[in-house]
Amino acid sequence: MAEHAHHHQPYPDDMWVFPRRETAAQDLVSRTIAPISRYRIALIITGVLLALGVVGFIARAATDGFDDHAPWGYYMAVFSFLFMITGAAPLVAVGFRFTKSHWRRPLSRISELFAVLGVLNVLMFIPLLMVLPPLKNPEVVGHQLEIRRSIWFGGPIGSPYWWDMLGVVGLAVLGMAILWLSAMPDLAGAKLTATGFRRKLYGLLAGRWYGSKRQWNIQKAGLAMLGAFYFMFLLFVQFIVASEFGMALVPGWKDSIFPPLYTIVSFQSSLATILLVLFILRKWGGYEQYIGVSPFWSASKILFALTMLWTYHLWAFFITFWYGRLQVEQNILKYFLFESYGWVFFVNVVFSFFTPFFILLWNPVRKKAWGAPLAACFILVGTLAFNIRIFVGAFNAGHTFDHFLETVPPPAWPDLWDIFMVGGFIGGAVFIYLLAARVFPILSVWEIKEGALYQKMENFMHGRYMVLAKPE
């Protein structure tokens, strides 16, 4: 036909992929059971890193103990780095399921799977509670505060320890509940293929799922409710971590935007990480027929918005302190932004804002599969710099019970054990994630199959366009 030559196509061929409903389940499960050789190499490397991290931790504990929080700054920084990424990651699935975005389908399981790292978060959090200074000043020197500034106001029984712990554990449990509920249909399907121990495990996890209409409805409502709880719980726990282990340790630092800023950084970095995983799966994992360019394209706009929001929040903090010109404000700016951690801040701003901004500004770049993941690489470095500057800074800011930061403290440089811990625990997190990917199919089988029902390429007049259906 003559007019077919004139079919207008506004997007490249690999923008949308249309996985076959019939074979998707079988294929995705068999890939989980028998991974490719690259997987094993990655597992060995990250396993070694985890071991180094543990060595660093033991060495740190043996040399410095848990009495003083100052030597644990880098440990806190890497904890916070991992916590902000893994804590917010499941929310990506929750959020875009809520907005009913079809493009989310390939990345929802990738993001939910981060919930498994809640275990690592809880384990890493325990030593931090041990080094947290008490609310009450054990011995008041000079004009020091009797009770330090804290979000607990010297308040409820057991605070801060029990409440902080409850928050981190609760979030981990809630995240895993989301993962379990979301993966249940896939695991029930996988049980049919698997053998031996794996079959038993899947049987246990899948429970009595047989896919009745009623079960699907419950699963849907359950995921929505758990998602809403998770969102609110996450904001709360991030508020605790940011203020308790950051702001409260710096004398006189009163900054109401810091918890929201922390949350924005976590949203930005977790979306970046997920896109990076998505890219790796597409490029080297052999999942091209399930992952088109469209998730990258749609998510890149959100990553761009988050990048700008981060800068906006940072600016709101900066301009208030700069304009206020109180001594404590000026010292805090010098400490975190310009003098002591000036270079770290530079890396932070360049990698978290300028580089991703100028990468994601261009629509042709956003339309490529590599655009957003490239920005993501920079964002992750920037996020690490953010955590180092804030938490190493906070842990080394001097006497917690002072009224104000009267002088600008010098920066704290990492020693060998700090480097071991930072590299080791990041590697360890990847290690655990890789292990979890052997149990749960890394792409959400039921969501991909469901998506195939509602997305089609169709002719409209003389063009060929995407048709997206929304069942409700």
Binding site: H6, P10, M461
Partner: protein, 175 residues
């Protein structure tokens, strides 16, 4: 020889798109016909030519000009009237950045508007051959052709299913 306009009106959008194909097959360049509609159809729905443009340059030029004016305005007025306030330097970069930011955005937006006007060739002094039924959902296929081809083009349009074919003279009479 100047080209003359012919306007075919279609009730059905698919017919209008077919008319486009027929015109192309008849050797009329796709620069010489256009589709007039009452709403934006998806690009390529009529199999029409791809429109090239440089709109994206406009906001950048505007942004640069806006930023420059912002920098000049803030720095020069402050230096011309140096009054220290609250211990802040005369050339205080953070407040200047805020005004410069607004200037940049204003420049970018103003130039975008100019760019849109320029690229859509608006305002155009003369409406040309037109029919008010277009805003009621009819599709107009506006062809520019030599006088000799007028009859043939009208024929193609009618054959493709045009409910009405207008020529310049008729338009002049109604206008």
């Amino acid at each position: 020889m100047p080209k003359l306009p012919v306007l075919g009106l279609f009730q059905d959008a698919n017919n209008a798109a077919d008319a486009g194909d027929a015109l192309r097959q008849a050797g009329i360049s796709d620069k010489d016909y256009d589709f007039l509609t009452d709403a934006p159809y998806p690009e390529g729905a009529f199999g029409e030519r791809v429109e090239h443009h440089r709109l994206y340059i406009f906001p950048f030029i505007g942004a640069v000009l806006g930023l420059t004016s912002g920098v000049l305005l803030t720095s020069m007025t402050q230096m011309a009237y140096p009054l220290v306030q609250g211990g802040k330097p005369i050339l205080s970069l953070p407040p200047m950045a805020i005004i410069c930011y607004e200037g940049t955005m204003l420049g970018a937006i103003l130039f975008t508007i100019l760019g849109i006007m320029f690229e859509s060739r608006l305002p155009s002094p003369k409406l040309g051959l037109y029919d008010t039924r277009i805003t009621d959902g009819y599709i107009g296929v506006l062809v520019q052709c030599d006088e000799a081809q007028l009859g043939r083009v009208s024929g193609i349009l009618t054959q493709a299913g045009a409910v009405d074919v207008k020529r310049q003279a008729a338009a002049a009479a109604t206008a």
